[in-house]
Amino acid sequence: MKLPTRFGTFGGMYVPEILVPALEELEAGFVAAREDPAFVAALRDLLEHYAGRPTPLYRCRNFGADTGCVIWLKREDLLHGGAHKTNQALGQGLLAQRLGKRRLIAETGAGQHGVATAITGAVLGFETRIYMGAKDMERQKPNVFRMQLMGAEVVPVTSGGQTLKDAINEAMRDWSASYETTHYALGTVAGPHPFPLMVREFQRIIGQEARAQFLSRRHVLPDVVVASVGGGSNAIGMFADFLTDPTVALVGVEAAGEGLETGRHGATIQLGRRGILHGADTLVLQDDEGQVSETHSVSAGLDYPAVGPEHAHLAETGRVTYVVCTDHDALAAFADLSRQEGIIPALESAHALAEALRIARRSERATHILVNLSGRGDKDLETASRLLA
C-alpha cells in the first residue's frame, strides 16, 4: 500500500486474504486517478453539469433566529439524487470505469447510497446490484422503486438484523467472488483501507465549497460546524477542510435513538468499544462477548453499529466533539425546519439541526453555526407522518 492505511491507530484492512489484491488494485487506481487531470476534469464535469454542484450555502431566515445566533445550511439536499452520496458514487463510478470493471455493487440502508449508485450505474453504463436489508426494503419502498427504475437490481438481505450492517456483509461476500469484474462502491468512510480515505477525498468538496462560500459572504470562518454521523461520510466531507482551522469548533452528532439508557440507539462513539468490523479497527457497539449489536435510529442512515475509523481518531484527539440527539429531538427539528424555512430535511440531517439549535440556545454571543444539510427528507415522509401525527 502506498497511502497510510490508518488514522492514528484506527483503520487498517481486516479482510479475508482473497480481497487484499482487490484493495491494492483499488488504492493504486485511486492514487493514479487523483493525479490524472483527465480524471479530475471528468469528475468535475459530472458534478457540475449532471449533479448540480456547487450546492448553495443558505443563511436561515427563521430557523434559530430567536436565539440571536445565525444558522447556515450547506444544501447537499439539492444535489442530484437528494443527498451528498452522489458526490462519491460518481467518483467511485469513474474510478471503476478506469479500472475496467463492468459491474457495480453497493450496500444501502435507507436507500440513499443505493440510489446514488443506481444513478451512477445508469449514467456511466454499469450493471448495478444493490444489497439492502429486507427490513429496510420494507421501510423504504419508494427508494427501492427508484433504484429499480434506474436499472439496478435490488437484492434483499435476510441474514442478521436485515439492515445496513448485514447488507455490507453481503456486498463483501459478493465482492470476494467477483472482484475481477466488479467494483464495490462502499457508501461511507467505514470499511477497510482505502475506502475511508478515498470516500473522504470524494466528499471533501462539501467542506471545500462551504468554507469558500462562507468566507466570501462573511469574510470570517464560522464558529461551529455541525454534521450528523452514522458511518460518517457527510461529516468527514464537511469537516475535512476545517480540521486545521483552530477557531472553528467541529461537532458530530450521533443517533441517541430512543435514549442511550434504552440500549436502542446508534451512539457508537459514545458507547462503543474498540473492535474490528467490516474491515476496520474502530469503535463498535458490541456485547460483552464481542458480538456486534443491533442498533436503532429513526433515521436509517444513522442505524450502524460502527463508525468510520477517522472519526474514532478525531474523537480520541479531541479535534471533533461528538454528541448525541434522540429520535424525538430530531423529529422536532425536522418539523421546525420544514415549517420555518420551507425545507424538508432528511432525518439524518435533522440530528445536526437539532444540535445546532441547542448550541444556539446556549450561546452567549451571536454565534455563526454551519450545518451540513446532507439530504432531503422526501424519503422520510412516511416515517415522519406516522410519528408526528
Partner: protein, 272 residues
C-alpha cells in the same frame, strides 16, 4: 513434535491425507454439538476445525452463517466453546484441533488473553478469517507467546511476494482455498491448485490443506492429485446438521456416514 506434524507424519506412512471436518461450536446447541464432534472423530476425522460463532461472518456463505446464528440463539458463549474443546482435548490428547474465528472475537478482551484461553482449552491452531498477513504481527506475537500455531489462507489470486509472506507466517498447516468467494458446497471443484500447492511447498510453507467447496469423496481425490496433505469440509457437514435438526439420531447417522465416506477417499493411489 506438535500435533499437526505428528498427524501428517503418521498419515504419510500409511499413504493417506488428512480429512478435517469443520463445524460451528455450540451448533445447534452445546450438548448436541459435543455429540457431533465425538461422532466425527469416531468416524475417522484426523483433526477438527471448529468455528467460534460470530454475528458478522463476512467470509462465510449462508450455510455456515446459519450455524453461527443457531449457536448464538442457543445461548452459546465463549466459555461454553472453551469447555467443549477442553472436553474433546481430554478425550483425545493427540488430535489436532484448529479454531476458525473473526478478528473482533480475538481482540475483544485482548489478543493475549484470547490465545491464552485457546491454549488452556487445548487448541493447536487459530485461523482468523478476516486477518491478512499485513495486519497479523500483533496476532502472531500473541499466538507465539501462548504456543498456538497461526494459520493463514493462501488464495488463488496471491502473487509470489504475498505467497512467500503467507508461507513464512503460517504454522501447523496452510489453508489453500480452492476458489474465490465464501464458504459453501460446490458440485465440482473450480480450478486446479496444484501449482499453488507446489509453490507453497517450495517456499517452505507447512503442509497444504485444501478448503472451500469440498463436499464429495471425488473432491478429496482431486485434492490428493493437487498435492494437498489434507482437505477441510465444512458446509457439507453443517448443511446435514441443519437438515436434521429435529432428529438427533438421524443427524448423527448422516454425518457419521458422510465422514466415513470422505475419510475412505483419503487413501493415496499406489505409486510405482
Amino acid at each position: 513434535m506438535n500435533r499437526y506434524a505428528s498427524m501428517f507424519d503418521r498419515l504419510r506412512q500409511v499413504h493417506e491425507v488428512a480429512f478435517i471436518p469443520f463445524v460451528m461450536l455450540g451448533d445447534p446447541d452445546a450438548a448436541t454439538g459435543l455429540d457431533i464432534l465425538r461422532t466425527l472423530i469416531a468416524a475417522g476425522a484426523d483433526a477438527l476445525e471448529l468455528g467460534l460463532p460470530f454475528s458478522d461472518p463476512i467470509a462465510d456463505g449462508p450455510v455456515i452463517q446459519a450455524a453461527g446464528v443457531r449457536a448464538l440463539a442457543a445461548g452459546t458463549r465463549s466459555a461454553d466453546c472453551w469447555s467443549i474443546i477442553a472436553t474433546i482435548r481430554a478425550e483425545h490428547p493427540n488430535l489436532p484441533i484448529g479454531l476458525l474465528v473473526y478478528a473482533n472475537l480475538v481482540v475483544h478482551h485482548s489478543a493475549a488473553a484470547f490465545y491464552q484461553a485457546a491454549a488452556r482449552a487445548g487448541v493447536d491452531s487459530v485461523l482468523v478469517a478476516d486477518l491478512p498477513v499485513e495486519e497479523s504481527a500483533p496476532f502472531v506475537a500473541a499466538a507465539a507467546k501462548a504456543g498456538i500455531a497461526p494459520v493463514f489462507i493462501a488464495p488463488p489470486n496471491a502473487d509470489d511476494h504475498r505467497l512467500a509472506a503467507i508461507a513464512r507466517a503460517s504454522q501447523g498447516y496452510t489453508y489453500v482455498v480452492t476458489r474465490e468467494g465464501v464458504t459453501g458446497v460446490d458440485e465440482r471443484l473450480r480450478g486446479d491448485r496444484s501449482r499453488l500447492v507446489a509453490t507453497l511447498h517450495d517456499l517452505g510453507a507447512p503442509p497444504a490443506v485444501l478448503g472451500f467447496g469440498i463436499s464429495q469423496p471425488e473432491h478429496v481425490r482431486e485434492g490428493i492429485r493437487m498435492g494437498a496433505a489434507g482437505v477441510i469440509s465444512g458446509s457439507a457437514i453443517v448443511g446435514r446438521i441443519a437438515e436434521h435438526l429435529g432428529d438427533r439420531p438421524r443427524l448423527l447417522a448422516e454425518i457419521r456416514s458422510f465422514c466415513r465416506e470422505m475419510k475412505a477417499a483419503t487413501r493415496m493411489p499406489e505409486t510405482a
